[in-house]
Amino acid sequence: MNAAPDPHTLTGAYATHALPEEERLAFEQHLAQCPACAQEVAEFEAALARLGAAESGRPPSGLKAAVMAGIGDVRQLPPLTGPAERRRGTSRPARQWPKLALAACLALATGLGAVAVQQHDQAQRARSQASSLREEQAAVTSLLTAPDARTTTTASGPAVATVVWSADRGQAAFLASGMPALPQGRTYELWFNDSGTMRPAGLLPADHGQLLLTGNINGAVGVGVTQEPSGGSAHPTGQPLMLLPLT
């Protein structure tokens, strides 16, 4: 998805909420796969908060009573992940940054997906697609919050791909943007690299570049992507388009 020639430059306009709706949605997709952009946005938001805080005003006296009386009718959202998946305290905040940013971006994209579907009121098919996308994203988000989750990113032409994995859980997820559209009858297939032997790990959905890889990591040293006939192959039929090391 490349609505803007260089999406990196949009961090400033995004942080000031100055992107028109369409560009905002496109940028958020990019943001979900660009931890550096997400960090820059967070820093800009912190800087802008200083401008905002400098505006501090005195609230009217009745406001607090109205708010406190009103919250009784406002249902609180649950956390994004279950108690069992909670991160442990505040350990390694710096190293956790990129995946937390990814998690936040994904969460946002999930919400926006739902809104977009509602707004356009498309056919039932779109709804079920969105809901399976949401489930996929929930699984990926949960993986991102694993205490030992790690990420690796690579670029190939216009495509940028990130693999998130947790050795403890034995799970890995693949997130990509800008993957060139394939001709009819072709698909992207993911593989675990078992020290040179490629093991099938699932097909990348055509409508979004996100997949929780099937199968356990099981000591795989990397993740590869190839182009295969629809339905996938048992063994790669061509050279890998991308290889991401799980180290």
């Binding site: 938001e45 912190a46 200083r50 905002g52 501090s56 607090k64 406190m68 956390p79």
Partner: protein, 194 residues
């Protein structure tokens, strides 16, 4: 004035806001009350700055407080401090409100805005904390005029960047990059970030 005041080294000493958010997430109304007291001033100030209209500002502030209560469990402490999180929420809502209003009275507002590009001095109005005001002023001053205008028109007036480009008679791409360059300067000057 050389001291760099970090956002995390506050100004907002006193209650531990992260803890208050965590408790609020569990439905603790007393914690929420403390959180309200700590953030309502900046929220109202920012919203009013964007919206101008006191009645609407109060309404939006109330909405922001409900959203804070509703989404407390979604706050990620590792992602950053509480106040930027809350003010991002507040700014988003204020801007949405302004755009809805603009859809109605578009032409007039743009004409009015053209004769009223906010000076950076104005940013510092109504400030309680002198140190904070001085630093924000000094940092805004370190931006080029185009950077400053791009950032403040978007942030304080709720304009989209194509609108900012039109107002300033500047190409779209230039405004985009000036916003980012300006924010990088502002961030570094304010000592925010890594």
């Amino acid at each position: 004035m050389n001291a760099v005041v970090h956002l995390s080294a506050p100004r907002f000493r006193g209650p531990d806001l992260k803890e208050l958010v965590a408790k609020t997430a569990f439905g603790d109304q007393e914690a929420f009350s403390g959180l309200y007291d700590a953030v309502v001033g900046p929220v109202l100030g920012l919203v009013r700055r964007v919206l101008r209209d006191p009645a609407q500002s109060e309404e939006v502030t109330q909405e922001v407080m409900f959203e804070l209560w509703r989404t407390a469990a979604r706050y990620e402490p590792q992602r950053g401090e509480v106040l930027p999180w809350v003010l991002t929420m507040a700014h988003r809502r204020a801007v949405d409100r302004v755009r809805a209003a603009q859809a109605a009275a578009d032409r007039d507002q743009k004409a009015a805005a053209r004769s009223h590009v906010p000076a950076f001095d104005e940013v510092a109005e109504q400030v309680e904390n002198r140190l904070e005001r001085e630093q924000v002023r000094r940092c805004l001053q370190s931006l080029t005029e185009l950077q400053r205008e791009s950032v403040t028109l978007a942030y304080y007036r709720g304009y989209t960047y194509p609108e900012v480009a039109e107002l300033l008679g500047t190409p779209l791409g230039t405004v985009k990059t000036r916003m980012r360059d300006g924010l990088i300067r502002l961030r570094d000057c304010l000592g925010v970030g890594s």
